[in-house]
């Protein structure tokens, strides 16, 4: 997921910044806020939301309400961050801008690095589905590869490594929550030391080597779960 070293170093600072900067945004007494609603979120709030989203998805049966609320909040934040290149135009307290600058830069770099490794694993899954037609998979494939099964939509979230992560990747998120996916070992572990919420998610999975048997199993699961989408229906 996110590069451990970078995130761990920055974590405390980011969190503090997030709390102070964001509560500044929400401080009703501040003249700038009173007139215009906060235009841009800090990237820390964005990161926090992404963390929450992943943590939520990692549950065996995600709390749908929590998930939907986090996703909608993430959408709002993302919308406010486009275009990402310039810094927030609204005047910020003098101490914040330089720190925010470097935060944005570093977290982008960190995110890109980790996304690349995640996408590598994504390629394995896509390879499986391309069995009749193997595709070249250099570079960030994003959603350009056809035949990606719909249950991988959630992975679209960390889509192509362009500036803005969540272009419309969130649409891919909501399939009928296919829990077999989250049992899959292809998910990278959460960064250690990060606390997305009161429960500390287990973060000890390792990225495995996929062997033949596991690939076959994965194929079965991905194909088989399509049939499991329908809810049981007495009286429907």
């Amino acid at each position: 997921m996110l590069s451990k070293g970078l995130k761990r170093k920055r974590e405390e600072e980011e969190k503090e910044e997030a709390l102070s900067v964001d509560s500044w945004w929400l401080d009703q007494s501040h003249p700038a806020v009173a007139q215009t609603p906060p235009a841009v979120a800090s990237s820390s709030l964005f990161d926090l939301s992404v963390l929450k989203l992943h943590h939520s998805l990692r549950q065996s049966e995600p709390d749908l309400r929590h998930l939907v609320l986090v996703v909608n909040t993430l959408r709002r934040i993302q919308a406010s961050m486009e275009p990402t290149a310039p810094l927030p135009p609204v005047p910020m307290p003098p101490t914040a801008p330089s720190v925010a600058d470097s935060l944005l830069a570093s977290s982008d770099a960190g995110l890109s690095a980790s996304m690349a490794s995640l996408l590598e694993d994504l390629n394995h899954i896509e390879d499986l589905n391309q069995v009749p037609q193997p595709q070249a998979d250099e570079g960030p494939p994003g959603r350009s590869i056809g035949g990606v099964p719909p249950n991988l939509g959630a992975l679209d979230l960390l889509g192509p490594a362009t500036g803005c992560l969540l272009d419309d990747g969130l649409e891919g998120l909501f399939e009928d929550i296919d829990t077999s996916m989250y049992d899959s070992e292809l998910w990278l572990p959460a960064s250690e030391g990060l606390k997305p919420g009161p429960e500390n998610g287990p973060a000890k999975e390792e990225t495995p080597e996929l062997d033949e048997a596991e690939l076959d199993y994965l194929m079965d699961v991905l194909v088989g779960t399509q049939a499991l989408e329908r809810p049981p229906g007495p009286g429907r």
């Binding site: 709390l19 929400l26 009703q28 906060p38 049966e61 749908l64 609320l69 709002r76 649409e171 809810p231």
Partner: protein, 452 residues
């Protein structure tokens, strides 16, 4: 209206003076995370109240002996305690279903026994709680210890006699309503016809008949054809107290839909739609989360309904869809802390709310073991605390005040000192008497009004 809890005046009608009555629950019990004592009174007579803790239900009952004594309306004592649900395994999804109970609702009492519905994430059960204080003796075909007697040895017939025995309270499951919900059940509500009830999960609402367990009718379905388009879930649902064809359900976007079951079999089209327009000056990234409704309750009269969102309680007139008729701030001082509360997930806490018997007052919980009462007539409100320190018999509760900034007065507590792990999610009001119950972590507090 002051958001931080009014001045020294207690609320709740004509100058109530709330004082401590009882506390239930072990003092030093370690609370497993996620296990909180919750409670619901029987809205039919208030003599029964049930608390539940994880999967264990405890029914409290007012002892008849103490009733009628001055200064005491009677004590609630444990009547029965039982485990409602077992952990289950969903083989289809390879998932364990938690036995943790989400909701309990009482049924109206029709005979000596009491019935209640309890639900976990997937399955609803109907429990019968009955007393046995007599035992039959003198059977012809078996001995007192149950051994069968040889029919040829019987020379005379006798009529069995009922003899008193120590009171035994039994809880037995009478119906199990299973396999109707794909998503997590968040509400159950008994209909005023006393024959049907509804169960709601995140995306669907089903209608059941209490006698029929192998069939239910789906009456609301908001699942989109494409789950990628999902943006809203159902958060609570309740039947109207008098009109058996009317129910409401609330959503994570702060809307309430009222449906009439007579209009069509599938009530996807609402008869009424309640939503308050967003205040642009208070918009933030968390606007949607804090507008998500965690509880909806009809007034006893059926004319109003009350909704609880993260920061406020709103009273709606069923005849006016455009905005609530009253808005009461529960803990407005948290508005500037939303980011931290988002980070530690407290912003997702689901608080409930309740009416008093005459619908003149409403009550809801907050953090730091505080709970709030609002008098709708006098417009006064008060913040009270449920704590062991204030728990001397008949000790009056002192109003508490949260200091939002600037100089903190004596006896005030500052926002930053609030304990967000001590949350009161469940409160209950006796339908006829001035008795309230408050569930704080693993303790159940009961308070009475001293004056009336």
């Amino acid at each position: 209206m002051a958001g931080a809890g009014g001045g020294g005046c207690p609320a709740g009608g004509n100058d109530f003076q709330w004082c401590f009555s009882q506390v239930k629950g072990a003092v030093d019990e370690d609370v497993a995370e996620g296990e909180v004592l919750s409670l619901v009174p029987s809205k039919y007579n208030g003599d029964q109240m049930t608390g539940w803790y994880g999967h264990r239900i405890t029914v409290y009952h007012v002892s008849l002996q103490n009733k009628g004594r001055a200064h005491s309306r009677g004590e609630y004592n444990v009547y029965s305690t039982f485990q409602s649900h077992e952990p289950e395994f969903d083989y289809l999804k390879s998932l364990e279903i938690e036995e943790k109970i989400n909701k309990i609702r009482w049924l109206p009492q029709q005979n000596a026994a009491h019935f209640l519905l309890s639900t976990n994430d997937k399955t609803i059960k109907l429990w019968k709680i009955s007393e046995r204080d007599k035992r039959a003796e003198g059977y012809n075909l078996k001995d007192e210890d149950g051994r069968l007697r040889d029919p040829f040895r019987i020379t005379a017939l006798r009529v069995p006699i009922l003899k008193p025995m120590d009171l035994m309270v039994e809880a037995s499951p009478r119906r199990i309503f299973a396999n109707a919900h794909t998503y997590h059940i968040n509400s159950i509500s008994v209909n005023s016809d006393h024959e049907t009830y509804l169960s709601a999960d995140d995306l669907r609402i089903n209608l059941w008949h209490l006698e029929i367990t192998n069939r239910s009718f789906n009456i609301v379905d908001i699942k989109p054809a494409n789950m990628e388009e999902l943006t809203e879930v159902i958060t609570a649902a309740e039947f109207h107290p008098h009109q058996c064809n009317v129910f409401v359900y609330s959503s994570s976007k702060g809307t309430i839909r009222l449906c009439d079951m007579r209009s069509s079999a599938l009530c996807d089209r609402h008869a009424k739609f309640f939503e308050e327009p967003e205040d642009p000056s208070s918009r933030s990234f968390f606007s949607e989360i804090i507008s998500s409704i965690s509880d909806v309750k009809f007034s006893h009269s059926g004319r109003y309904m009350m909704t609880r969102d993260y920061l406020s309680v709103k009273v709606w007139d069923l005849n006016m869809e455009g905005r609530p008729v009253e808005t009461h701030q529960v803990h407005e001082y948290l508005r500037s802390k939303l980011c931290s509360l988002y980070e530690n997930d407290c912003i997702f806490d689901k608080f409930e709310c309740c009416w008093n018997g005459s619908d003149s007052a409403i009550m809801t919980g907050s953090y730091n073991n505080f709970f709030r009462m609002f008098d709708r007539n006098t417009r006064r409100d008060v913040t009270l605390e449920a704590s062991r320190e204030n728990s001397k018999p008949r000790a009056s509760l002192k109003p508490r005040k949260v200091c939002t900034g600037g100089k903190r007065k004596k006896d005030e507590i500052s926002v930053d000192s609030l304990d967000f792990n001590k949350k009161i999610l469940h409160t209950a009001w006796h339908p006829m008497e001035s008795i309230i119950a408050v569930a704080a972590t693993n303790n159940l507090y009961i308070f009475q009004d001293k004056i009336n």
